[in-house]
């Protein structure tokens, strides 16, 4: 049996829908259930729903053969998984945002930046030659500037709505992210024919 670990939440619904279009049918109610794993109709595929940040660990350690996870997580964790397909859904951007409109070129040394993405944040500011103080948060990042916890934030945004509601302006984009199909490098070899077939079908569907 092939095990696929998917980020739970909004990616999971799209993942189940995508797999259904290529003939792999998982229970549509799985995202709403409290179950953590489910098996498809054919009995050949198992689907896990886990936290997005845990998907690479599952796949890298071979607990799952394949994973569906945002590119943002892969880049932040510098994961060594094989990237097989860009699934195109779950689109969002990692942006620098702050309370006042300013150009990225006006960023200065020693700014305090709150983020869930310390690696990506560090890399971004290092590339600009700036040294910044990074505060790692686990949620409600948008609150940090209003409470003077930080000068700026680096956070994921899809529509920009949440930034707006917290009176923040997106100042620069670090990268755009979508959901990716990834593989454990050894599972990739063991299930090579299946995965080539699967990826081909997925890419064909996505092109339509």
């Amino acid at each position: 049996m092939i095990t696929i670990a998917s980020a739970k939440g909004y990616l999971l619904k799209d993942t189940i829908a995508l797999f259904a279009t290529i003939g792999i049918h998982f229970d549509k109610d799985f995202p709403n259930s409290r179950k953590l794993s489910t098996i498809d109709k054919s009995g050949e595929y198992q689907l896990l729903q886990i936290r997005p940040w845990d998907v690479p660990a599952y796949v890298q350690n071979g607990a799952a053969d394949f994973g569906v996870v945002g590119l943002d997580v892969l880049l932040e964790q510098e994961s060594k998984l094989l990237r097989l397909a860009d699934l195109k859904y779950g689109g969002c951007k990692l942006v620098v945002a702050g309370p006042k409109k300013q150009k990225p070129s006006s960023f200065t040394h020693n700014l305090t930046v709150a983020t869930k993405y310390p690696q990506s944040t560090e890399a971004y500011f290092r590339a600009k030659g700036l040294s910044v103080n990074i505060i790692k948060l686990y949620g409600a990042i948008e609150l940090a500037p209003a409470t003077s916890l930080s000068d700026l934030i680096v956070d994921l945004t899809a529509t920009g709505q949440s930034l707006k509601e917290n009176k923040l302006h997106a100042l620069d984009t670090l990268f755009s992210s979508t959901a990716y199909l990834v593989a454990n490098p050894v599972s990739f070899k063991m299930y090579y024919d299946e995965i080539c077939d699967l990826t081909k079908k997925i890419n064909k569907k996505l092109k339509k």
Binding site: R83, L84, M190
Partner: protein, 286 residues
């Protein structure tokens, strides 16, 4: 409180574990000595400058470095082949070729944050120096397969690639291959049998030789197999295992590495990661 723990990715071995290591290492060493390979030892600490030439950017980053008392940068041996190459090109430069050497020694690298394993990994491996050609390549792969079988691992395969497979690719495509980013590469690399070897005559000869002795059932040609180590110049290979889903051994031909130390000899070798072999064996009996 004083800490009584070991650092991330290293461990003690209690008697029963230590004896398991000794037994597994012994089984591999038996295969190597039967094939007339001789043991060498290199120091755990090396000048970083003496080894960094042959490292890829990833290994340069992962090598554990510090400054010695005279102010020179030293490194905990991050790779055995580099150290043996340095030794061969210096104290063994006048020895008759081919030289058949093996080692059993740990290498040290900063641990992978996703697995937190293998800061120290024990490797047993060999280097065959002074002769090239597909017959030699096949010979080394046979010894590798015999070694893996000797450990008791049942579920394994070996992927074979060649640096020629990526010749002519743009820098961006090569990087995509090294990163395993097949989206950026634009395709999933081909894997299969000798039908993939239209141009590479040497690899075909090597494969024929493996087939003649019944080793081909373990072997798959992989057009996307790449190594981050910069020293490979010809055939490269990688042994993967089915239970723990990791690579337990890898190697290849490195005809230009010795010349960095002033010795033009061709060479080929492999290293087996004993830590991973033992984890696979443990999973196998579950």
């Amino acid at each position: 409180m004083k800490t009584a723990q070991t650092p991330v990715g290293v461990t003690d071995l209690i008697p029963e574990e230590a004896s398991e290591y000794t037994v597994i290492i012994g089984k591999v060493v038996t295969v190597l000595t039967k094939n007339k390979y001789e043991l060498v030892r290199t120091p755990t600490i090396e000048y970083y400058d003496s080894l960094s030439n042959g490292m890829g950017p990833n290994l340069q980053k992962k090598a554990i470095k510090f400054v010695d008392t005279s102010g020179k940068v030293v490194t905990l041996r991050p790779d055995n082949t580099l150290a043996v190459a340095r030794l061969v090109a210096t104290r063994l430069q006048d020895r008759k070729r081919p030289l058949k050497l093996y080692y059993g020694a740990p290498v040290f690298r900063t641990p992978d944050p996703l697995t937190n394993q293998d800061t120290e990994r024990f490797q047993v491996g060999l280097e065959y120096i002074g002769k090239d050609g597909p017959k030699v390549d096949a010979e080394i792969i046979k010894i590798l397969i015999d070694s893996i079988k000797a450990t008791g691992i049942k579920d394994f395969g070996i992927d074979i690639g060649h640096v020629d497979f990526v010749k002519g690719l743009s820098k961006a495509k090569k990087d995509a291959l090294i990163q395993g980013n097949y989206v950026a590469l634009g395709e999933i690399p081909k894997r299969g049998g000798k039908e993939l070897l239209t141009k590479n005559k040497n690899l075909k000869t090597c494969l024929t030789s493996l087939k003649k002795d019944g080793y081909d059932k373990y072997v798959t040609i992989n057009k996307g197999l790449v190594k981050d180590l910069h020293y490979y110049t010809g055939i490269i290979f990688d042994v993967y295992v089915g239970k723990t889903k990791v690579s337990v051994a890898s190697g290849g031909r490195y005809d230009n590495l010795l010349s960095k130390y002033g010795d033009a000899s061709p060479a080929i070798g492999f290293a087996i990661n004993i830590n991973r072999v033992i984890r696979e064996l443990a999973e196998q009996v579950k």
